[in-house]
Amino acid sequence: MRRNVIIKTVSRFLVPFIQVYALYVIVHGALGAGGGFQGGVVFAASFILMIIAFGLTCVRERFGYRWIVMLSALGITIYATIGLLCLIPGGNYLEYGSIEAALGIPHLHGYLIDAVEIGIGMTVMAIMTSIIYDMGDTGGESP
């Protein structure tokens, strides 16, 4: 185990900022550069930083396999469900405009894109983190 105070303190300080930036990138996806994938990767980067600073086991206790599976499944479900919801008012798959026109709420398609991007972000974040877990895993023995 590392006992480096500087690394731990700086990481503790940086992680919230990285995560807020990740959320910004995800939500910004509807309007400009950014999106769920990029934001998800940035979010996963905060976990990677924590793994480097505090060790794999420590992070894994807080964010385990069950969380990863649930978040990744939930993310795709959000994406696919919103896509399918667009069929109800008579649009094509992922045709957000159809829901907006049917409900008469202005700018609804933007919010729907945000929701889809959040779904993508959750899945990407969970999968990226699980890849890091698997890479850091020594095959059953504790590191």
Partner: protein, 498 residues
């Protein structure tokens, strides 16, 4: 817009949701995985049949994702050619998933059951996506989905050799994926389009560019690796022989066929016959290599001592027959080639099911250990004989029909020498099929003969799809006229006709 109009997107979106459902339901109770998977694939098959009927009635079905028309958005396009392929792969997937249940219990182990069904579902979804997409980059994305699922499925047999087979396939598959991506990028650089129809419309203006030639070669070589076209087949025998039986059935019948489909699509729809005949003549070369593949695959198959490995090399040979159609590139030969995609899928699926049953009951697929196996597994060996007859090309099976059209096409194009070699290849098929028949029926078993009354026939859920496929070999051959009503328009569509 009725619900029927949305079937193309349901074919992709519903199975992805189903694979998540399998994952979550598997936590609840592991026994729920199989029924969900079965229902999903069967309803996909039903949807494919409805779409094919609609295509035959009204012409090409197009679906714009998000309502964005092609230059901006991604479209799903189903015409008579890929409607036919779609129905074929889902028919075989349905047979494979019915067969899978017992095979998974036996070969994969309880702790991996959930992962197996999730990956199985994703593999089928990726292949369906590859088949129905009208966008060349989307094709690559679905190719990677199906490939990654396939790598993991091959390794799920939990034997050291299957890990090695999966790793080899991973390396070659990644090289192929890289080639395909470069080729796609080249086409995008030359035309600025990713939609297949757009590219084919814009491409003639830049036919002479080196970028386009390079892109063509990258795409053809990349998909040839995935399709296991002869000199690039080295990943295939291990991957087929070492994976669990249900996976072997799926990847041998469906996966390489979809890559062959992609090759046909790229060569005929995107580059069109004008390119491959006048600008960059490759048909003669492909014809030559395909002929070598037919002969070499069959000869190596004869030399094998393991049943599964023998069938794997036979697949190399049979891919040669389909590519032969691509090399001849006239109406009749393409009809034969497209028919052979279905025919080979059905008969090879049946043969691998028999091999899987033998492994399930006897525990080995070494030919020397299988003497007299027909006494204890009469139904399986009869199915093998029927599907084997189709593989050889004995009338009236489907194998005869497709080879008949291939030979007719070759003669029509004046390639009489190649036609003769094709017939020689069928003769070699007798060599490896008869070897098993001879061992199974006419050689004495070493210790199984004593318990003569004992039968080792497998459970009904494994027998039923196998017998169904064996009978299909026969019936498809007899009622080939009905099939030709789909295959004929598909072939003329590829050649640029109506």
């Amino acid at each position: 817009m009725t619900l029927i109009d949305h079937l193309p997107v349901f074919l992709i979106a519903i199975p992805i949701l189903a694979s998540l459902l399998i994952l979550v339901a598997g936590w609840w109770d592991r026994r729920l995985c199989y029924p969900i998977s079965l229902v999903t694939i069967l309803s996909q098959f039903g949807a494919a049949v409805i779409i094919l009927a609609q295509v035959m009635r009204e012409g090409t079905v197009r679906y714009y994702l998000g309502g964005w028309a092609p230059p901006l958005g991604i479209e799903l396009a189903i015409d008579s050619f890929n409607g036919f392929i779609l129905t074929t792969i889902l028919l075989l997937s349905a047979a494979a998933v019915i067969y899978a249940r017992r095979s998974v219990e036996h070969e994969v182990g309880p702790e991996k059951t959930i992962a197996f069904y999730v990956l199985f579902q994703l593999l089928v979804t990726g292949l369906v996506g590859m088949t129905i997409t009208g966008d060349i980059f989307n094709l690559y994305v679905f190719l990677e989905i199906s490939s990654i699922a396939a790598y993991a499925l091959i390794a799920s047999a939990r034997k050291p050799r299957s890990y090695l087979a999966s790793f080899n396939y991973l390396i070659l598959g990644s090289i192929a994926g890289g080639f395909i991506l470069i080729g796609t990028g080249n086409l995008y650089a030359a035309t600025g389009a990713l939609n297949m129809l757009d590219i084919s419309r814009l491409l003639p203006a830049s036919f002479e560019l080196a970028t386009v030639h390079a892109g063509f070669l990258f795409l053809v070589i990349g998909y040839s690796i995935k399709a296991a076209f002869f000199p690039l087949h080295i990943w295939l025998p291990d991957a087929y022989a070492e994976s669990p039986s249900a996976v072997t059935i799926l990847i041998s019948t469906v996966m390489s066929k979809v890559s062959v489909y992609a090759l046909f699509r790229i060569i005929f729809t995107i580059f069109t016959t004008a390119y491959i005949v006048d600008v960059f003549p490759v048909t003669g070369f492909i014809l030559f290599i395909a002929t070598v593949a037919m002969i070499a695959g069959a000869v190596i198959a004869i030399a094998q001592s393991d049943l599964k490995r023998m069938l794997a090399y036979s697949s190399v040979s049979q891919i040669g027959y389909i590519m032969f159609a691509l090399g001849v590139a006239n109406q009749v030969a393409l009809e034969g080639g497209i028919l052979h995609i279905l025919g080979h899928a059905v008969m090879k699926g049946c043969l691998f099911m028999v091999a899987g049953l033998i492994i399930y009951r006897v525990g080995t697929s070494r030919l020397s250990d299988l003497g007299g196996i027909a006494k204890v597994m009469p139904i399986s060996c009869a199915a093998f004989a029927l599907a084997g007859a189709s593989m050889i090309g004995i009338p009236p099976t489907i194998g005869f029909m497709s080879k008949y059209y291939l030979v007719l096409g070759a003669l029509e194009a004046g390639h009489w020498l190649y036609a003769a070699i094709l017939l020689l290849g069928s003769l070699l098929a007798v060599g490896y099929i008869w070897r098993f028949i001879e061992i199974a029926y006419f050689r004495d078993g070493r210790d199984r003969g004593s318990g003569a009354a004992r039968t080792l026939e497998a459970p009904a859920s494994m027998l039923a799809p196998m017998v169904a496929l064996a009978l299909l070999c026969l019936f498809l051959g007899i009622f080939v006229e009905g099939l030709m009503e789909i295959v004929g328009p598909a072939a003329s569509l590829l050649l640029g006709g109506a």
